[in-house]
């Protein structure tokens, strides 16, 4: 009869060449070899080479050519009047300035032509007259009639007309020339102002055109002055630059900001083929069955495939980036597109970092989708809608009205957040805290997608589709489980962290209303209850997880309760001190929390706030040291489990409250993880967390403690915590550790391993 007990080695195995030892993900070298094999196969495929090398090398020169030939030409061709050859349209405030600009540009033009003709031999029989001058200077009074109806009806002064005409693309540059001071000496210097439109390549081109002519004009005047010493005074022009932002309604899409979108699309293109080939392709070729028949965890196989797809995506990104930069440099479009910031090395590095992030995310999404597919065709059918769906947020991200923090959901919306961050980087106004939220939330999504792919890849429903159905992928296990699976726990986290960010941001924004001030903490508790309480409970039900073991809800020893309570009362000064140190120069925190806390300094609100924060502490433990911790502990070492949970705990707080929470929350996570591990129960941690939260919110509401001159309120965040309180906190923390260690530890290490 069969047995599932540990058997002795069968006789037949003694002759085997190899004594098997367990496959381990720790064996990086084997993982590396697995990746090498996948890469070898993929890179030998000419289809990969086409998308990896040939397409980028051809695409960017072609795009550049088309852009120059058609786009710029069509934009320039929108002439105000039928003036042949008027490629550059310049606005002047008055007729006097218009006349001076014309004279100036004409002089500069003549000078430039003379320089060119000196350096070139005259063409044989070249008797054709000079080409028409390619600019058109228009005064504000003439410009009024060209403004769109709404604007022309309004009473605008000359300056407003010029700026509006610039925004509407009627002119491409405003030039301001002050009157010449007749009393100035021999050498007069006039400051000429050039006003361009931000992000407009036509405006930049016109600016370059005018600058060159002014430079030529100055050179000519200088040489005149040298030749005619003592003669009439010479007027030289110095330049001052400014720009006009595109208006809200008539904003133009920044062409420079289109670059990241193109790169992103190209990176997708590079990753699509390997993703299909390594998943659906495996099945179609019949290699998937023999692959999963090998004693290798599916997560290991999938991870190797993920690394391969990611590598190809990054290689594609690099080739694209190089090709794009080379094209921009060689075609001279670098100056047209990036005149203000320039396409410098730092910007390129930032862009590359963003592409890495994007490749990490998109490779995971692609793999999770293609793992569903049973054939190449089916995978393509899944990916085409994804590609189209990616275009929509990508293009939406280019719209000027959309910002990373408005609405808040943008910061955690996949793909849109990356495109918006890319745009902010190009514009030089990326916010660090929002960038962190984009990075962390994207990484969360990537991990969730990999885990989903690992669950699907090689599963019955996909492997033997003729025999099984999709429902098999999502069916509950037959037998009850002691803990949730790691993918289930991480999926919960990937769902809850961004949702929490969005909900909390929405709550903070709604603080203006008096009603919401009273409801803030109850609402925060309600959101936390749903996300950290109910969501893991659903996960546990779906995974048939036992409630006690799955959430670590075993009753601990009495000493563990005491240890948890002492730590809960002692940790807060250390946490505050850490926050104070991290935010020593920051006014942002004060600005952010000040309004909230002012609204809460009411006797009626205080008890509710304290109770809610204590409840939130309990719920966070229910998930982090309960559901997640118990899922991880079966697969990772003690410190791996504690560390990983603590870091994820810290990252979740970063998404909620900003980067400054990373270190204190991770430290708290370490303490809570250690307490959970040692006591064998989540309950002491719940007490610790609840007390810690309660005390922090209590002192945050401006309670002055005895023996301290400094009111122990939230402003401590901006100054140091009194040393005596930190000392008491440290002593209490040590005592709490001692209680847990000597009186609270679970009796036998086996207790938790049951």
């Amino acid at each position: 009869m069969p047995t599932t007990n540990e058997p002795s080695r069968p006789k037949g195995e003694r002759d085997a060449l190899y004594v098997p030892h367990p496959w381990s993900l720790d064996s990086l070298s084997r993982l590396g070899r697995l990746v090498r094999k996948e890469l070898l196969e993929i890179l030998r495929d000419r289809r990969t080479i086409i998308t990896l090398v040939a397409m980028p090398l051809l695409l960017y020169p072609l795009l550049s050519f088309a852009f120059k030939q058609f786009f710029l030409a069509s934009q320039i061709g929108i002439s105000v009047e039928s003036t042949p050859g008027a490629d550059f349209r310049i606005g002047a405030a008055t007729s006097r300035e218009k006349s001076e600009i014309d004279t100036l540009l004409h002089a500069g033009n003549v000078q430039l032509r003379a320089q060119i003709s000196k350096s070139e031999r005259p063409a044989k029989g070249g008797t054709a007259g000079p080409p028409p001058e390619p600019w058109l200077c228009i005064s504000s009074s003439d410009l009024r009639k060209f403004l769109s109806n709404g604007e022309s009806r309004r009473e605008l002064n000359a300056e407003e007309i010029l700026q509006e005409a610039l925004r509407q693309g009627i002119i491409q540059l405003i030039v301001r020339i002050p009157r010449v001071d007749a009393n100035a000496g021999k050498s007069r210097r006039l400051e000429c102002e050039l006003v361009s439109l931000e992000g407009s390549p036509q405006s930049q081109a016109t600016l370059t055109f005018v600058e060159r002519r002014i430079a030529a004009y100055n050179a000519e005047k200088l040489s005149q002055r040298l030749d005619l010493t003592g003669a009439e005074p010479v007027t030289l022009l110095s330049l001052r630059w400014s720009s006009v932002k595109a208006g809200e309604a008539g904003d133009l899409i920044s062409l420079a900001a289109l670059v990241p979108l193109i790169l992103i699309l190209m990176t997708i293109t590079g990753a699509v083929y390997p993703a299909i080939d390594l998943t659906a392709g495996e099945r179609e070729r019949g290699t998937l069955e023999i692959l999963v028949a090998a004693p290798v965890p599916r997560l290991g196989l999938l991870f190797a495939k993920y690394v391969t797809v990611f590598t190809v995506a990054v290689l594609t990104a690099v080739v694209n980036l190089v090709s794009m930069v080379a094209t921009l440099m060689l075609s001279g479009m670098n100056q047209v597109l990036f005149r203000d910031q320039g396409l410098d090395a730092v910007l390129l590095l930032e862009l590359f970092g963003l592409l890495l992030l994007f490749a990490a995310f998109f490779s995971a999404v692609l793999l999770s989708l293609t793992s569903f597919a049973r054939s190449f065709k089916e995978a393509q059918a899944y990916l085409i809608p994804l590609m189209l769906a990616s275009l929509a947020p990508g293009l939406a991200g280019m719209l000027p009205g959309l910002k990373l923090d408005h609405p808040p959901v943008m910061a955690v919306t996949p793909l849109v957040n990356i495109v918006l961050l890319a745009r902010d980087l190009f514009n030089g106004d990326a916010v660090f805290s929002l960038s962190i939220i984009v990075v962390v939330s994207t990484l969360f999504y990537a991990v969730a997608a990999i885990l989903l792919a690992a669950r699907i890849f090689g599963a019955e429903g996909v492997l033997f589709s003729e025999q099984t159905g999709w429902r098999d992928l999502f069916r509950r296990p037959l037998r009850p489980q002691d803990a949730a699976s790691v993918p289930a726990a991480l999926w919960c986290l990937a769902l809850m962290a961004p949702t929490l960010f969005v909900m909390q941001s929405a709550l903070a924004r709604s603080l203006e209303a008096q009603t919401f001030q009273r409801l803030l903490y109850p609402l925060m508790f309600a959101v936390t209850f749903v996300l950290f309480g109910i969501l893991p409970a659903i996960g546990a039900w779906l995974g048939k997880v036992r409630w006690i073991s799955g959430f670590g809800a075993r009753p601990p020893r009495l000493g563990a309760f005491l240890g948890g309570a002492i730590l809960g009362c002692s940790l807060w000064p250390i946490v505050l001190e850490m926050l104070a140190w991290l935010n020593r120069d920051s006014q942002a925190l004060e600005a952010r929390f000040g309004r909230i806390l002012e609204s809460l300094r009411q006797e009626t609100v205080l008890p509710i706030a304290v109770a809610c924060m204590m409840g939130i502490g309990v719920l966070e433990e229910w998930f982090f040291r309960g559901f997640l911790f118990q899922a991880l502990r079966g697969h990772v070492t003690k410190w791996g489990t504690i560390g990983l949970t603590a870091v994820l705990f810290g990252l979740t707080h970063v998404i909620q409250e900003g980067l400054e929470r990373m270190a204190p929350s991770t430290l708290q996570g370490f303490v809570l993880g250690w307490v959970c591990w040692e006591t064998g129960s989540v309950i002491p941690g719940m007490i610790l967390h609840a007390l810690n939260n309660g005390i922090l919110i209590w002192i945050s509401l401006g309670r002055q403690l005895e023996g301290s001159d400094v009111p122990l309120d939230w402003r401590l965040v901006g100054s140091n915590v009194p040393v005596n309180w930190v000392a008491v906190g440290v002593a209490g923390t040590l005592a709490g550790f001692a209680f847990v260690w000597f009186l609270g530890r679970k009796r036998s290490p086996a207790t938790l391993e049951d």
């Binding site: 047995t3 030998r44 069955e289 023999i290």
Partner: protein
């Protein structure tokens, strides 16, 4: 070595009905025995092998190899099994050598041992001439020989051979059957599913005839002959698969 105990696999069908692919199947295979699992198409042979290997989870019952449960210790089972399947493919972009060494690595065979085994298999299965050729360029017979070598590279004590000669010409089939004989002589346990009943008669020590997921009859050739009154395996097969009477009527 191989134990199958009341193994059942049901697949829900689109209309809400249930297809029982394998129904309460029990048999065992001793060390050094080649067990012929025979039956018409759709009898449940491949499903049984997949459950044995832990690729499909049984609806009820259990299977074990070398004492390890297929559902409870799938990795231990996989380490001890070499799977040869007619539908198994090769990595088109890898050379034969690269592919075989890759699979050796998957089974955690030490590189030196893997190379030695590769040389041995290459000699026995006559792979030398195309060892450094890309798998995508091989003929059907060559591919099946490579597949056999791939399943053997980690020297498993148990072989699951799912129609290993399907689609091969006489010469290709001869190489494979000879090698199965060699495996049997080496003392490996194997389950062979095939429609080539002559080969099965020659290679297998015992037989189980599956029909619609049910084990209709089991025993050595001698026992089957005694119980059915037929002399050849093909006659027994036709008789028990309820195909014989229909064919007889058609011939009349």
């Amino acid at each position: 070595m191989i134990q199958v105990d009341r193994l059942t696999k049901c697949f829900p069908q689109p209309g809400g009905s249930v297809l029982t692919a394998v129904n309460d199947l029990s048999f065992s295979v001793a060390e050094g025995e080649v067990y012929g699992l025979l039956g018409p198409n759709g009898a449940g042979k491949t499903t049984t092998l997949r459950m044995l290997l832990g690729l499909l989870s049984p609806t009820s019952g259990q299977a074990s190899i070398a004492g390890f449960g297929s559902s409870t210790h799938p990795d231990e089972v996989k380490r001890r099994v070499g799977l040869v399947s007619a539908s198994a493919g090769l990595y088109q972009g890898l050379t034969v050598r690269e592919m075989l060494l890759f699979f050796a690595d998957l089974y955690a065979v030490q590189p030196e041992e893997a190379r030695t085994e590769l040389n041995r298999l290459s000699y026995l299965l006559n792979l030398d001439e195309f060892l450094d050729q890309r798998c995508g360029t091989l003929s059907t017979g060559q591919r099946q020989r490579v597949n056999l070598a791939r399943a053997l590279i980690h020297r498993p004590p148990v072989m699951l051979l799912d129609e290993p000669t399907l689609g091969l010409d006489v010469l290709g089939a001869q190489v494979v059957t000879e090698y199965i004989e060699l495996l049997r002589n080496e003392g490996k346990s194997a389950i062979l599913t095939t429609h080539h009943l002559d080969d099965a008669e020659r290679l297998c020590t015992r037989f189980g005839l599956l029909h619609k997921g049910i084990l209709v009859i089991e025993g050595t050739l001698h026992q089957l002959r005694a119980r059915t009154g037929c002399t050849r395996l093909v006659e027994i097969f036709l008789k028990l698969s309820e195909i014989g009477p229909a064919l007889s009527q058609w011939h009349r």
